[in-house]
């Protein structure tokens, strides 16, 4: 289905984009998902393989991609994780 090395350490930004699109659109075929996330088809397929191996996505009989409960939870955990750090920074108010 694809060529090249499988993903060992995914980019969190790409991962978050795929999950966000799937959260909004529920189920999509790979081509539409690649277009919606702005990824090349090959790169998307590699990410989907990795995500599927982790249980974040699954494929239905038509080959469409679905986000699992674990995928949704992971996304929420990721947002929370970043918020934990960014949320603790107190930014000073600068005047012009």
């Amino acid at each position: 289905m694809n060529s090249g090395e499988p993903i060992s350490k995914p980019n969190l930004y790409v991962l978050a984009r795929i999950i966000k699109v799937l959260k909004e659109r529920r189920r999509l075929n790979r081509t539409t998902l690649a277009t919606s996330t702005g990824l090349s088809y090959d790169r998307l397929v590699k990410y989907l393989e990795w995500m599927s191996s982790k249980g974040f996505v699954e494929f239905d009989s038509n080959g469409e991609v679905l986000l699992t409960k674990l995928g949704t939870e992971t996304y929420d955990r990721l947002v929370n994780w970043i918020l934990k750090y960014v949320g603790n920074v107190r930014f000073p108010k600068f005047s012009e």
């Binding site: 969190l12 966000k20 920074v89």
Partner: protein, 218 residues
């Protein structure tokens, strides 16, 4: 939750934009100094040429009033130009380029965090502090020079009309006191902003060390 993250990231990036603006202050210091120095050179050249013209032609140009008026116009024009030049440069700094990325929500926030170059940010804050401090001093010196010239001319008029001579050192000191009193709000604001930049530097250092040390396990 995502909205909170986006709004916090917007706060984050706005603070960094402000640092970018302040950093240009340091870069603009050369321009500021050159404009003020050029003003001094022009004023002195005009003064010298008028005196030479009086000396050689014997014509009466009324140097004290004419030169005084000339100074009054050249110095403020130079200093105002220098201040506006710096402000223009600060306004020309491109800010808010991250807004489009942040419309993506959490993925956008992640992308922005991934693209941050921490060492450049930290050095930017240090330069911003230095620029802020030096610009404050340069502005005070320029206004001091301007006030001194104005008071010298005024003291010259007083001397001619009332026959009271005023010591140059007193004029200089008086000018400095006037400038410091008139600039007190600017000085206070500058001091506060430098404190805030320090605060930001510490907060970001903490964030960078915590965030780098942490590892998200998918």
């Amino acid at each position: 939750m995502e909205a909170t993250l986006s709004s916090k990231m917007a706060e984050f990036m706005t603070a960094l934009d402000q640092v970018k603006k302040y950093r240009t202050l340091l870069a603009s210091m050369t321009d500021f100094t050159l404009i003020v120095l050029a003003t001094v050179v022009v004023a002195l050249s005009v003064n010298i040429s008028m005196r030479l013209s009086t000396l050689f032609s014997g014509a009466n140009h009324g140097p004290s009033i004419a030169v005084g008026l000339l100074y009054l116009f050249i110095f403020p024009a130079g200093i105002i130009t220098a201040v506006f030049w710096v402000r223009r440069k600060m306004k020309s700094v491109k800010v808010g380029q991250w807004k489009n990325t942040l419309t993506e929500g959490a993925p956008g926030a992640i992308k922005l965090l991934q693209s941050l170059e921490w060492e450049s940010i930290f050095s930017g804050i240090r330069y911003a502090k230095l620029g802020f401090f030096l610009y404050g001093i340069a502005k005070i010196l320029a206004y001091w020079g301007l006030t001194s010239v104005f008071l010298f001319i005024s003291s010259g008029v007083v001397e001619v009309v009332l026959h009271i001579s005023v010591d140059y050192i007193v004029v200089m000191l008086f000018s400095l006191i006037i400038v410091l009193i008139l600039s007190r709000n600017d000085l206070r604001k500058r001091y506060d902003q430098i404190g805030r930049l320090d605060w930001l530097l510490w907060e970001l250092r903490w964030f960078e060390s915590e965030f780098r040390g942490a590892n998200f396990e998918a």
